[in-house]
């Protein structure tokens, strides 16, 4: 796998040194949450040990440093995704889900009215569905779905028609269930041509491939730190400065105001307008460390590495189980990420995951917060294995061995 040294990444990751049931852990759940390397964990400890203070408004040394940590993470994030105006366009949230709620409840509530259409896809995570349903219940907008084909791609045969009346097309760069990567630039061009804005769920792509919001030409991007080797408790919302400035406040409280009187309030300008209350500060120290770490690896390298693992795993799953273990997702590694949703003949995903745990293999059973997609394929659940920058083909070895055992046990 070229000069990329996944073994080095693995040794940087404390959790991967752990043993489970007497075997080294085989972590195949990066699509749920990734494992932070030592520099990320240490950046947060160091922050608490040396610099912690509340941000903004402080003039003493540690408050200045904490503010630098926080605003520095905004700068690093802006650069990481190539935001044209950098930190001025980066809002910190709790997670991808809060980012989508911000999008729906600030931009959406201000710009959409009854009858307007928000187009999503059948392969969306609930984070990019439920906030739109909530807005529909409140404003009477229509939430429309791009269907998914039998070969796990967006069905674009009727796309032009689907775009009728659409004000926002909000879709995922990569499916957390199927692994499918959608043609972001092409879809964005089509939506823009029809006057719609475009929001991208980048939760499954940031940290797995390079992200350039200018190149993609999207209007909004949402993702989570914890899926890109960073900490829990921190998400990102990006939009162009012009749009950001036009968006009304979302959550109210300290930090997001310019003034509060007994008779009303004036919201602040810039990203802070959307950051009410004490933000996740230590978490931003972790995010900056994660970004630096990923930049050190090179996102192109991470992408190539994960693709090679995926190609290999797809081939070996087929070879070994010849259909007794079905992959719910594209069969080749073109336009797909390292997410393998498995359907094991005669064994419920919960039982698959339980047996795999005995081998130290971590896969996630369930609907993966994508119930419309599961229904589309008449599945209640899958057992999902997914790769990260630290994954090795040995992980696939153990996965196959453990799957064999599950198949045998329930035969």
């Amino acid at each position: 796998m070229s000069s990329y040294n996944a073994r080095r990444v693995r040794s940087d990751t404390p959790l991967l040194q752990r043993e489970i049931n007497g075997r080294p852990i085989t972590y195949l759940d990066s699509a749920s949450s990734s494992l932070p390397p030592r520099p990320v964990i240490e950046a947060m400890s160091r922050y608490y040990e040396l610099r912690h203070a509340n941000v903004h408004r402080g003039v003493y040394q540690t408050a200045v440093e904490a503010t630098e940590v926080y605003e520095g993470a905004r700068v690093a994030t802006g650069r990481f995704i190539h935001a044209p105006k950098g930190d001025a366009e980066v809002v910190f949230t709790k997670n991808t889900t809060e980012s989508f709620n911000l999008l729906a409840k600030s931009w959406g509530a201000a710009n959409l009215r009854a009858g307007d259409v928000v187009l999503v896809t059948e392969m969306e995570h609930h984070a990019n569905i439920v906030p739109w349903f909530q807005l529909r219940d409140q404003l009477g907008i229509e939430v429309r779905f791009v269907p998914v084909t039998d070969d796990f791609r967006l069905d674009l045969s009727d796309f032009d028609h689907l775009l009728d009346g659409v004000k926002l097309f909000s879709f995922t760069a990569a499916s957390n269930v199927l692994g499918t990567r959608n043609p972001v630039k092409e879809l964005t061009r089509a939506a823009h041509a029809r006057g719609a804005l475009v929001a991208l769920d980048a939760a499954q792509s940031v940290g797995h491939q390079p992200m350039d919001v200018v190149d993609l030409d999207v209007d909004f991007v949402c993702f989570s730190a914890h899926k890109m080797l960073g900490p829990t408790g921190l998400g990102v919302f990006w939009t162009r400065a012009e749009i950001l400035e036009s968006m009304p406040p979302f959550l109210g409280g300290g930090g997001m105001i310019a003034d509060v009187r007994l008779d009303g309030y004036v919201p602040a300008n810039g990203p802070t307008r959307f950051e009410a209350g004490t933000p996740p500060i230590a978490e931003t120290a972790g995010l900056t460390a994660a970004i630096r770490y990923l930049e050190g690896l090179g996102l192109e390298n991470v992408e190539r590495h994960e693709r090679a693992l995926t190609t290999d795993a797809l081939a070996r799953l087929w070879e070994r189980f010849e259909g007794r273990v079905r992959v719910i997702g594209p069969a080749t590694s073109d336009d797909r990420g390292g997410v393998l949703s498995l359907d094991v003949e005669g064994v419920h995903p919960h039982d698959v995951a339980q047996v795999l745990d005995q081998f130290g293999v971590c896969v996630r059973p369930g609907h993966h917060c994508a119930k419309p997609l599961m229904r589309r394929f008449h599945l209640a659940a899958t057992a999902r294995a997914s790769f990260g920058p630290y994954s090795l083909s040995e992980d696939t070895d153990v996965l196959l061995e453990a799957l064999e055992s599950a198949v045998t046990m329930f035969a």
Partner: protein, 161 residues
């Protein structure tokens, strides 16, 4: 460290492979109750034929993992033909078997040991408490049964006699 053999006892796999009392009952007169585990997508329908305070027949349909399927199958075998009072007593004991006290989450203490000697085959399910996430799988059918009984009393009270 919990062992997989604690969970997948042979008798559980047997119930999973050849579930007892699968099928439907005409409803009404049978009580039909749906159970649902939102976390894993398990679905279950329980049919209860209650006459003169006795659970004369019980049937089950639905899908789920081995634990939820086996538990419902074992449940049906354990309660069929029993008086409602006895059924409720079995439910109570089973729930006790499955209880992980909040305190044990907090303090890392072991779960309390229920009186498993009176439970027959059902005792095989006690290994489930060592896998707390699976407890919901084991209890789904029991909660559905319980709910069915509650509804059943409503129905009986108003006129199925």
């Amino acid at each position: 460290m919990a062992n997989l053999d604690d969970l997948y006892r042979e008798i559980i796999l047997d119930h999973y492979r050849t579930p007892r009392n699968r099928g439907e009952l005409p409803s009404p007169p049978a009580i039909r109750t749906e159970g649902y585990n939102p976390l894993c997508g398990d679905e279950l329908v329980v049919y209860l034929d209650i006459r003169d305070g006795v659970l004369v027949d019980i049937k089950l349909t639905g899908h789920g993992c081995s634990i939820s399927q086996a538990s419902s199958s074992m449940m049906s075998a354990a309660v069929k033909g029993k008086s409602i009072d006895d059924v409720r007593a079995v439910i109570e004991r089973f729930k006790q078997l499955m209880t992980v006290h909040a305190a044990s989450l907090d303090d890392g203490a072991d779960a309390p040991v229920a009186d498993i000697h009176t439970m027959g085959e059902l005792a095989a399910l006690q290994g489930v408490v060592k896998f707390p996430v699976r407890i919901k799988c084991a209890t789904l059918s029991w909660n559905t049964l319980s709910q069915g009984l509650d509804e059943g009393y409503g129905v009986q009270g108003t006129g199925s006699k």
